[in-house]
Every structure is written in structure tokens, then in C-alpha cells.
């Protein structure tokens, strides 16, 4: 589903070139439950941004469903992000002036083709499934961190993407809530067959996944 082939990503900070990702090659198959494990500054976030089409590599190729994305325009990349990836962030990244329901439905606002389902109904269904019924018209800043992360996961699912990219999804949560979120992600993988990639620096979190990819200093360890 995703193939990275000799991907290098360099940033220019001041006059110096910083290599965040160094000749990374990896492949993730459909339905996998994978963790990307590495200490902070190891380049795991950069890897996630490239896998999530938020950033383009300096060198190397990224292939999504057999298609090289380097030829895609910015608009095409946006459209692909919309239907292919659901992001879950450490900071939840919800928009506080929108209600929880509006936050969940937001990706559907940017859908290029009409959806075969009503996103509002589907959002309500997700809210019920995640035990968040009754919170739909509240804003994210009125609910707890664990609840916010559930809203974020619901948002990631609203377009039914084949891939969920979760960047330190438990990083801002206590153990109990963290576990609940991980269970939720595992469930998505096992019951719905969604490919889940969890980026983390915690080996306990990583050990819950079926496959671990270690990264240090921008290099993937095999």
C-alpha cells in the first residue's frame, strides 16, 4: 500500500543542511498494524509526514497504491490526503471553535466527489461507538483529553480511509486513557481491516503492534 524507496529528507536550518531522513526504504501492506519506534529527533515524525503526504522527500520515491506521488500536484496531494489518510495527532489538533460533530465532519467538507453516505449520520454513529453520545454539540475544549482523542479518531475515520497515521496518540493522555485509545486503534485494525501506523517513542506502545520499525538518526534499522 505504501512504499518508500531510498527516501531522504533534508531541511535547511540557517545555513546548515539537516538530514532528517536518510535513505529510508520501507513497505507497509494493506491491513498491517505497524509501529514506528524511535527517540525524539530520530526522524519518525518526518517519516510520518512523508507517508501522510504532508511533505515531499528531497530524494527517493514514495509509492502509494502503486503510484509514484512525486508527479502529483498540490491539489491532487490534498485530494489524496482527504480520502487515503486519517491523521491522529498527539495534540489532538481539533478546531476549538467548531463543535465536536463539525470537527468530525470537517474532512467531508473537502471531499472532491459526493459521498455515498451522509457524513453527519456516520459521525453520529462513530460518536455512539466511541461512547461520546451527547457530546456532539460541545466544543473540544469542553471535554477531556481522552475524549478529544476519540473525536480526533472519529474525524480520521469519517472518509473511511484505508490508512490511519497516529503520531504519539497517547502522548498527552494518562495510562488509562492511553490504553483505551490504543485498544480503539487495535480494534479498527482487527475488525475493520484499516491499516494503522502508530508513531511512538515508547516501546510498550510499540510492542502492542504486530510489527515494529525502528528509526534512529533518520535511518531505518532492520
Amino acid at each position: 500500500m505504501i512504499k518508500l524507496h531510498h527516501v531522504t529528507k533534508e531541511y535547511r536550518i540557517g545555513g546548515e543542511v539537516f538530514r532528517a531522513l536518510d535513505n529510508a526504504t520501507l513497505s507497509i501492506k494493506k491491513g498491517e498494524y505497524v509501529s514506528i519506534l524511535g527517540p525524539s529527533g530520530s526522524g519518525k515524525s518526518t517519516l510520518m509526514h512523508i507517508m501522510g503526504l504532508l511533505d515531499l522527500p528531497t530524494q527517493g520515491t514514495v509509492i502509494i497504491n502503486g503510484k509514484n506521488i512525486s508527479s502529483l500536484t498540490d491539489n491532487e496531494l490534498s485530494a489524496l490526503r482527504n480520502i487515503f489518510v486519517g491523521f491522529v495527532f498527539q495534540q489532538f489538533n481539533l478546531i476549538n471553535k467548531l463543535t465536536n460533530l463539525e470537527n468530525i465532519v470537517l474532512p467531508a467538507m473537502y471531499a472532491r466527489t459526493p459521498l455515498s453516505y451522509n457524513p453527519r449520520d456516520y459521525a453520529m454513529e462513530l460518536l455512539v461507538r466511541f461512547g461520546m453520545k451527547g457530546k456532539e454539540f460541545m466544543t473540544p475544549n469542553k471535554i477531556s483529553g481522552g475524549q478529544q482523542q476519540r473525536i480526533a479518531i472519529a474525524r480520521a475515520l469519517i472518509m473511511n480511509p484505508p490508512l490511519i497515521l497516529a503520531d504519539e496518540p497517547t502522548g498527552n493522555l494518562d495510562t488509562k486513557n492511553g490504553n483505551a485509545i490504543m485498544e480503539l486503534l487495535e480494534n479498527l485494525n482487527t475488525s475493520s481491516g484499516v491499516t494503522v501506523v502508530v508513531i511512538t517513542h515508547e516501546s510498550d506502545i510499540a510492542s502492542r503492534t504486530k510489527r515494529k520499525i525502528r528509526i534512529t538518526d533518520g535511518k531505518i534499522q532492520t
Binding site: 491539489n75 490534498s78 490526503r81 491523521f87 481539533l94 478546531i95 471553535k97 467548531l98 473537502y110 471531499a111
Partner: protein
């Protein structure tokens, strides 16, 4: 459609959260649009007022006036020559002329029982009332017999009667003093509406007297203008050229103008459109200042919402989506100012109408709303572009 509603809702929510900022930003546009609207209302009101005065002269009317009246306005008008009886007789002999009404005009103090005020004195013939379709509200208008005798009588405009005596009925039968002589009030003319207190008096703000009765203050028997009524609209063109021809035997072409009512109205229209354009252009400068205010606050808003921009980009928004998000907000912000300006202007015009014939028409409303949204687009596009160009990755990482 759904997306547009959502964009508008999001912007309104932003405004609700930043009430004071929103109001202050709109204030700039409010001031700009209000000045444009009020100046237009004043120009338009004045134009309508003066046009109405000429329209009240009735159709098929030709004005013979001193000086030149061109399409761009009277130049050196009301100066130069003064007409006399010989001119009146000449004009009267022109074929198809129904009425020839010479008019002498003087602004003068009129004293009633206790009050003294300045009004326009119009010394003319009784035909003036026929040409302009003025009727008596109470009492009677002066007639040929009053004219022949040079009777010391006067017909007051409704406003004059009201100002000096309180009402038309109270004025009837009393006397007024004009230029040292007493005149008996034999009637009060019916109001034609369109009040105001400008240099151009309405028909209600005049006192009418027989020409002969004004000779005490017009010893040279001069006329300011001659109003001519043609017998039909078909002959008005030939009457006009014939009058021109006969008067040219006595005067040079620069000394006088012969104009149809429509020409006078056209002339008024063109003067006012120039005046209005200039005034509105000046007022538009304040709109630019308001626009810069919007641009400033939109830049602040972009910086405050960098993370939101990143989130939206991550979940699939294109650069264009982000551009529209901020552009909608800028347009709404300035249109809000435009709407508030219209409300404010409506209130000001409502009170102003007691002193000045200001008037807001639908074109002005459309222009105000159009101009305010245009300002929103022009001054919102740069901040919106900046937002759209942000890299999603940097935006989402922004603290």
C-alpha cells in the same frame, strides 16, 4: 452551497469570539461607506429637489434666461443682460406661443404681523399660475385686473404663510411689508411639496405679486427670465428656434439661453453627476483606510490560525479552500461594515431631511454593498494568499 454556508458560519463564529476586534475593523469600512452614502444621498437629494422645481413648471415649457446654459452647466449664467417689455412683445409674436410669462425675481425681507424673513419675491403675470398649474389653497390668485391696476396685492407660498402667520387661513386678508410698501394677502398657493432651505427656493417659498406692483423696487421694469409655453409638444422645437432667431436680432448668442425643460434637467443632471463623482471619489479615500484596517486584522487572523490552517490542509483542504476561508471572512467583515453604514446613513438621512432634501436610492444601497464587498476582496486577498501558501507541515507544527 453547503460549503459556502459552512464558510460563512465559521466566519461568523470567529466574529462572535472576537466581538470588539470585529466591530473596530468594521468601523473603518463603516466610516468610509457612510461618507460615500451620505454624500451621494445629499447630491442625489439636491438633484431631485432642483429637478422637481423645474418639472413643476409644467411640460412644453421653454425658459429664456440670461447667460449661457450648456450641457455641462450654466456658465456665467444669471449675469449679463436683463430682459424688458420689448423682448416680451417680440417673443409673444412667435407662432405657436401659448403663454409668455415674464418674471422678475428678488430675494427680499417680508414682514408679517411679528416676524420678518427673507423669501423670494416673484413679480409676474397671472399667466404664471396657468403655466405652472399653481392653485389657491385659500383666497384667490391675482388676475388680469390686479395686474392692470398694479394692485398692492400678494399671493404667498404655503411655506411663507406658515412661517409668517402660522397658517394659510390666518394669513389671508392680512398685510405684509415688502421693500417698504404694504401688500394685501389675497390668497395662499397650494403646496407643491419638496421643502428645504437651500438657495434655490421651492414654489412654496415664494411670494407672488403682479409685475406692475413691483415697480417700486424694480424701477427699470426689467425681467430676470421669460417663461414660454408652446401650444403643443410638436411645436416646442420650432418655437425654441424662432425665439432664438428673434432675440439674436437684439442680443449676441452669448447673452441669453433658450432652453427646453428637458435641456435644463439634463444640464442639472450633468452638473450633479460631476459634483457627485468628485465628492464620492474623495470619500472613497476613507474606504481605502478602512480596507487597510481589514488587511491588517486579516494578517493577524492568519497568524493566529496557522495551526488551524495546518489541520485543514492535513485533512484534505487545498490551497484554494484556505484562500476562500480567509477571503470569505474578509468579505463578510467589510460587508458587515457596509450594512452598518447603510443603517447609520438611513438614520442620519432621516433626521437630515428636515433641513436638507437628502435621499438614498436603491442604486446607492447596491453601490454601498458592492463597494464594501469589493474592498473585502481587494484587501483580503493578500492575507488569504499568505494563508493558502503556508506549508501544511510547518502550519501544523506551529506553536
Amino acid at each position: 452551497m453547503n460549503t459556502l454556508l459552512f464558510l460563512i458560519k465559521t466566519s461568523l463564529e470567529d466574529f462572535r469570539r472576537n466581538k470588539i476586534r470585529t466591530l473596530l475593523t468594521s468601523l473603518g469600512i463603516l466610516i468610509g461607506i457612510s461618507s460615500v452614502v451620505l454624500l451621494m444621498a445629499m447630491g442625489l437629494g439636491l438633484k431631485r429637489y432642483i429637478s422637481r422645481q423645474f418639472e413643476s413648471m409644467g411640460s412644453n415649457t421653454i425658459f429664456i434666461m440670461p447667460g449661457q446654459m450648456t450641457q455641462t452647466g450654466p456658465q456665467g449664467s444669471f449675469g449679463g443682460i436683463q430682459f424688458d417689455d420689448k423682448d416680451v412683445r417680440t417673443v409673444k409674436r412667435v407662432r405657436h406661443v401659448l403663454y409668455t410669462v415674464p418674471v422678475y425675481i428678488k430675494f427680499s425681507k417680508i414682514s408679517g404681523d411679528s416676524d420678518t424673513k427673507t423669501f423670494q419675491i416673484m413679480a409676474t403675470t397671472s399667466d404664471f399660475f396657468s403655466v405652472t398649474s399653481i392653485d389657491a389653497e385659500t383666497g384667490r390668485l391675482f388676475n388680469k385686473s390686479d395686474e392692470g391696476k398694479g394692485a398692492k396685492v400678494v399671493v404667498l407660498g404655503s411655506k411663507v404663510a406658515e412661517d409668517l402667520f402660522g397658517s394659510a387661513s390666518r394669513a389671508l386678508g392680512k398685510s405684509v411689508t415688502v421693500e417698504g410698501s404694504g401688500y394685501k394677502i389675497i390668497g395662499v398657493a397650494k403646496s407643491k411639496g419638496g421643502g428645504g432651505s437651500l438657495n434655490v427656493p421651492s414654489v412654496d417659498e415664494r411670494a407672488y405679486m403682479p409685475f406692475k406692483s413691483s415697480l417700486s423696487f424694480n424701477p427699470n421694469k426689467k425681467y430676470f427670465a421669460i417663461y414660454v409655453k408652446a401650444d403643443s409638444s410638436d411645436t416646442i422645437g420650432s418655437v425654441k428656434t424662432d425665439i432664438q432667431d428673434v432675440l439674436l436680432k437684439r442680443y449676441s448668442s452669448d447673452d441669453f439661453s433658450v432652453a427646453e425643460q428637458t435641456e435644463v434637467l439634463n444640464s442639472i443632471n450633468s452638473i450633479f453627476s460631476i459634483l457627485n463623482t468628485v465628492l464620492v471619489a474623495i470619500a472613497a479615500i476613507s474606504l481605502i483606510v478602512g480596507g487597510v484596517g481589514i488587511m491588517n486584522i486579516m494578517y493577524v487572523s492568519v497568524v493566529e490560525r496557522i495551526r488551524e490552517i495546518g489541520i485543514r490542509r492535513a485533512i484534505g483542504a487545498t490551497k484554494k479552500d484556505i484562500l476562500y476561508l480567509f477571503l470569505t471572512e474578509a468579505i463578510l467583515l467589510s460587508t458587515l461594515g457596509g450594512i452598518l453604514a447603510l443603517l447609520l446613513s438611513a438614520v442620519v438621512v432621516f433626521f437630515m431631511q428636515r433641513l436638507f432634501p437628502a435621499y438614498i436610492d436603491t442604486a446607492t444601497v447596491a453601490l454601498a454593498l458592492g463597494a464594501s464587498s469589493f474592498v473585502g476582496i481587494v484587501f483580503g486577498v493578500l492575507p488569504a494568499k499568505k494563508a493558502a501558501q503556508l506549508s501544511p507541515i510547518e502550519a501544523i507544527r506551529y506553536e
